[in-house]
Amino acid sequence: MHYSVHHVTRFRYSAPIRESLVETRLRPQADELQRLNGFHLTTHPRAQLFTYADDFGNTVYHFDIPGEHQELTIDASSKVDVDRPPTLPEALAPDAWEALRSDATKAQHFELLCPSTIAKDGEALEAFLKETGLEPHACPLATVRDLNETLYRSFTYESGTTRVDSPIEVAIASRKGVCQDFAHVMIAILRDWGIPARYVSGYVCHRPDAILDRSAPDQSHAWVEAFLPGIGWVGFDPTNDCLAEERHIRIAYGRDYADAPPTRGVFKGDAQSELAVAVTVTPSEAPRLATPFLRVLSAAKVAEAASPVTARLRSQSAQQQQQ
C-alpha cells in the first residue's frame, strides 16, 4: 500500500519564550517491509535541521530556535510504501518457549525483557492478570494473540483519562485509556512472560468501516511488536484488535513511549504551552514521476554511446593475463 502522511504539530505559548530545542521522531522507518519514498520536515519559525540515528535506529531530526517566539509549528510529510508481512503460521515450533528462554534470546533482547520506566509490572498488573485469567498458552504466538484480544475487550478507548507517559496503573485502575496505555500494558505483560516486546509509534490508516477501529484517525498511533522465535518481530495492535500489517506505518521503536515520542522539547521562559496535532494518512497511488517538463540538455544518443564502452570493456578484459 502507498500512503501520503501529513503530520502537523503546533506548540503555542501563553507568553513569548526563547531557546526552544526540539527533537522529533517523525521520519518513518525505512526497511524491507516499508519503503520511504520521501520525507520532508519544515519548521516555523525556520530552523537549521540536524539528524542522527538513536540507539534504536530511529532517525531523529532536531533543531533549535534561539529567538523569542510564541508559536512553533513542525510540519512533516512522508510518502511511504508498506508491504504486507508474510502470513503468520497457525502455531510456532513446539520448542518456541525454550528458544525464548535461551541465553541467546536473553542476551540479544535484554533491555526489551526488562521492565522499563512506564511499562513495568506491579501489583495492579498482577491483579489484572488474575482477574482476566490471562496466562501463557502452549504456543507463544497464541499467547500474544489472546493477550491482544483480551486487552481490546478489557479496556474502553477514552482519551483524556491518561497522559502519554502515565504509568500503566492509571489505565488499569479505570480500564480506560488510549493506544499508548494499551501498548504499555501489553508490553509489561509480554516481558513478564519472557517475550521480548517493544513499543512502536507510527500511524494507522483506518479501515473504511470506521466502527472496527477505535484509535483516533487524526493522531499518531502506538502499538506493540513481540519477538517470536522463527519469525522475528511481529506487530500487534491491542487498540484495534488486529495485527499491525500493511495499514500500520512504523516511525520509531523504544522500550516504551519515553524512547519514541514524536516530539520532545525544552524551552526557556515562563509560559504555559498548548499542543495541537493534525495527522492525515491518505492511501495514494504508487508514486509517479512527473515527466512533461523535462528539457533535454545533452543530446548523446544512448544506443550509440553504449557501444564504444562495450568495446573498450571487451578489449580490456581480453588483455588481462591469467597465470
Binding site: L21, F50, Y52, D55, H62, D64, A107, F110, V266
Partner: protein, 511 residues
C-alpha cells in the same frame, strides 16, 4: 574551637578500645616510652612510619627524628596554623544526612604521609594499566559489546545497570578516552602491598585538598620537606589543562575549555572554583551555556563564545534536560546532541559510572587480562558478589566479619562494617542482602595501614587510604601524590570525608 572539635571527633578514648581492632603494643622503653609517641599502638595493620615500635622505616627516619624533637605544644601550634589556613581559604565541604546538611572544615592532619619512590613507581604503572583497561572496557560496552558476548562480564550486570547510558552507544570519544580524570582509592593491606579498593570514574573529587594540603603542610615542615626531596605536585592544574586540551575535538586549534559546576550549593564548589582558577578556564553553570545549531556556546558580555571541552562536575542524569531528567535545572539542553556530533567533548564522558559500580569492580583484573593480556599490577581487594548464590550464602553467614556495600552507592553511604556493627544493623543488612542480593557486594574487613596522626597532645596511629588522580587524554599522566584520607576516629576504618574522615599531605619521595 578546633581543639574541642578535634577532641569530639576522636570520641571518648576510654570507650574506643572496645570497637578498635588496633591492639596496644605493650613493650615500651627509652625515649619511645615517653613524649609524643607514648600512646602509639600497633595492631595487625601495617604502619606507614614504623617497622616496629620505636623503629622507623628507613625512608621515614628523618621525619620521625624531626617529629621527636618537637614538643607537643609546638605541634599543636603548627596544627592550629594549618587549620587556620584552611578556614581562611574557605576550604570546606558539606555533609549530607537525613534532612540536614552541615558545612565543615575538612580536617587536615599535620604529619605528612610518605610514599617511597619504589612504591610510587609500581602504583604509577598499575594505575596506568588499570585506566587503560577501563577505557577499553567502556569503549567496548558502548560499542561492539565483545566483552559481554565473550561472557567476561555478565551482560545483565552492564545492560541492567542504572548507570549504563544508552545515549552513549556508538558515540565516539577522542582517543577512546572515556575517563579523563580518575580517582582510584588504594589501601595498603596487611602484607604491605597496595590494593585498589574502588575506582571513581564519574566526577572524582578531592584533588583540591591534595594541593591545599601540600601548600600548608610544607610550610609547617619546611626543612624536612626540602631534605626529603619530595616530588612536586603543584603542576596538577597544568597537567589537567593539557589533558582537557588533548580531549578537544580535532577542529579546535585553540580549544576553549570550561568547568561546568552545579553551583555554590554543591559540596565541592570550592574545588570547582579552585581548579578553574588554577587552569585559567571559565567556571560556568548550566545557565551560562546554550546550544545553538548543534554547537555549544558560552554567554559572555561580548556575545556567544564557542566552547570545545566541558570538564563537567555534574551527574549524567542532570547534564541535558532534553535527553535525561527533564526537571534538571543544572544542565544544558541539547549538549548531548552537540557531543554526539563531535562539536564538543564532555570529560569525563557520560555513562562512565557503569564501570565503577562496586560489582563491576570485581571484574577489573579479568578486564585487564582480557584487553591488555597482562596480570593486574595492583590487585583488587577480595570481593564477594552477592549475585552469586554461593557467595551470597557465605556473606550472610559471615556478616560479623565482612564489610558489606551497596552496589550503586558511593561515599560510604549504604555500608555495613560488620565487626563494628550492632546486632540490629547486621540483622537489617541480612534482610536487605537476602531481598536484593544483586545490589550488594562484600569484602573482608581490611586492616588498612596506619599512619601517625597528631591528636590532642600526642601522636597516634590512624587508618589511612590513598586516592591518586589519574589523568588521561591521549596518554596517561599521574601527578606524584594523592589525597591520603584518614579515619580520624580511633580504630575507625571509614575514611570518607562525609563520614568523619580527614586528610593528610602525601609526600612521594624522589630517588
Amino acid at each position: 574551637m578546633s581543639e574541642s572539635k578535634r577532641a569530639s571527633e576522636d570520641g571518648d578514648p576510654s570507650k574506643a578500645g572496645a570497637e578498635s581492632n588496633v591492639e596496644p603494643f605493650p613493650a615500651r622503653s627509652g625515649p619511645w616510652a615517653e613524649g609524643l609517641f607514648a600512646r602509639y599502638s600497633f595492631g595487625r595493620a601495617v604502619d606507614e612510619m614504623f617497622e616496629r615500635p620505636g623503629v622507623p622505616l628507613p625512608h621515614a627516619s628523618a621525619l620521625y627524628a624531626r617529629l621527636a624533637e618537637l614538643s607537643s605544644d609546638e605541634l599543636a601550634r603548627r596544627q592550629a596554623q594549618v587549620e587556620h589556613a584552611f578556614l581562611t581559604q574557605g576550604i570546606t565541604f558539606t555533609v549530607y544526612g537525613e534532612g540536614q546538611e552541615t558545612e565543615r572544615i575538612f580536617p587536615t592532619d599535620l604529619v605528612p604521609r610518605l610514599i617511597t619512590a619504589a612504591d610510587w613507581d609500581r602504583l604509577e604503572r598499575g594505575l596506568t594499566q588499570r585506566i587503560a583497561a577501563l577505557n577499553l572496557f567502556l569503549g567496548d560496552i558502548y560499542g561492539e559489546g565483545k566483552v559481554l558476548r565473550d561472557g567476561i562480564v555478565p551482560a545483565d550486570l552492564i545492560l541492567g545497570s542504572k548507570n549504563y547510558l544508552r545515549a552513549m552507544r556508538g558515540l565516539k570519544v577522542p582517543h577512546g578516552t572515556y575517563v579523563s580524570i580518575c580517582g582510584s582509592d588504594l589501601v595498603r593491606c596487611e602484607d604491605g602491598n597496595f590494593a585498589v579498593l574502588e575506582d571513581n570514574l564519574r566526577v572524582p573529587s578531592g584533588v583540591s585538598y591534595m594541593l591545599a594540603n601540600r601548600a600548608v603542610v610544607k610550610r609547617a615542615f619546611p626543612n624536612i620537606f626540602r631534605e626529603l626531596n619530595v616530588r612536586p605536585i603543584d603542576h596538577y592544574g597544568r597537567a589537567l589543562l593539557a589533558t582537557l586540551r588533548a580531549m578537544a575535538p580535532p577542529r579546535a586549534e585553540r580549544p576553549r575549555i570550561a568547568l561546568l559546576t552545579p553551583g555554590v550549593f554543591n559540596s565541592a564548589y570550592f574545588e570547582h572554583a579552585f581548579l578553574a582558577r588554577q587552569m585559567g578556564i571559565e567556571l560556568v553553570e548550566g545557565r551560562d551555556l546554550a546550544v545553538h545549531d548543534n554547537v555549544l556556546y558560552m554567554r559572555t558580555t561580548s556575545g556567544l563564545a564557542r566552547v570545545d571541552v566541558i570538564y563537567r562536575r555534574i551527574d549524567d542524569d542532570f547534564i541535558d534536560p532534553l535527553r535525561f531528567r527533564r526537571d534538571s535545572m543544572l544542565g544544558v539542553p541539547g549538549i548531548v546532541n552537540a557531543y554526539r556530533a563531535g562539536n564538543v567533548t564532555i570529560a569525563n564522558a557520560l555513562g562512565t559510572g557503569v564501570a565503577d559500580d562496586k560489582a563491576v569492580y570485581a571484574f577489573v583484573p579479568a578486564l585487564i587480562k582480557y584487553y591488555l593480556g597482562e596480570e593486574a599490577i595492583i590487585p583488587n581487594v577480595e570481593t564477594y558478589l552477592c549475585r552469586r548464590p554461593a557467595e551470597r550464602d557465605y556473606v550472610l553467614a559471615n556478616l560479623d566479619k565482612l564489610v558489606v556495600k551497596a552496589v550503586g552507592e558511593s561515599g560510604g553511604y549504604g555500608m555495613l562494617v560488620g565487626p563494628h556493627a550492632t546486632k540490629a544493623q547486621r540483622e537489617e543488612f541480612h534482610a536487605r542482602v537476602s531481598a536484593h542480593p544483586d545490589s550488594y557486594i562484600a569484602q573482608p574487613t581490611l586492616a588498612l595501614s596506619t599512619a601517625p596522626c597528631f591528636v590532642e597532645d600526642g601522636i597516634e596511629p590512624r587508618h589511612v587510604d590513598l586516592r591518586p588522580f589519574i589523568l588521561t587524554g591521549r596518554e596517561t599522566v599521574i601527578v606524584p601524590g594523592g589525597l591520603t584520607r584518614v579515619a580520624l576516629r580511633r580504630g575507625s576504618l571509614v575514611v570518607n570525608s562525609s563520614q568523619g574522615g580527614g586528610s593528610k599531605d602525601t609526600w612521594v619521595l624522589g630517588t
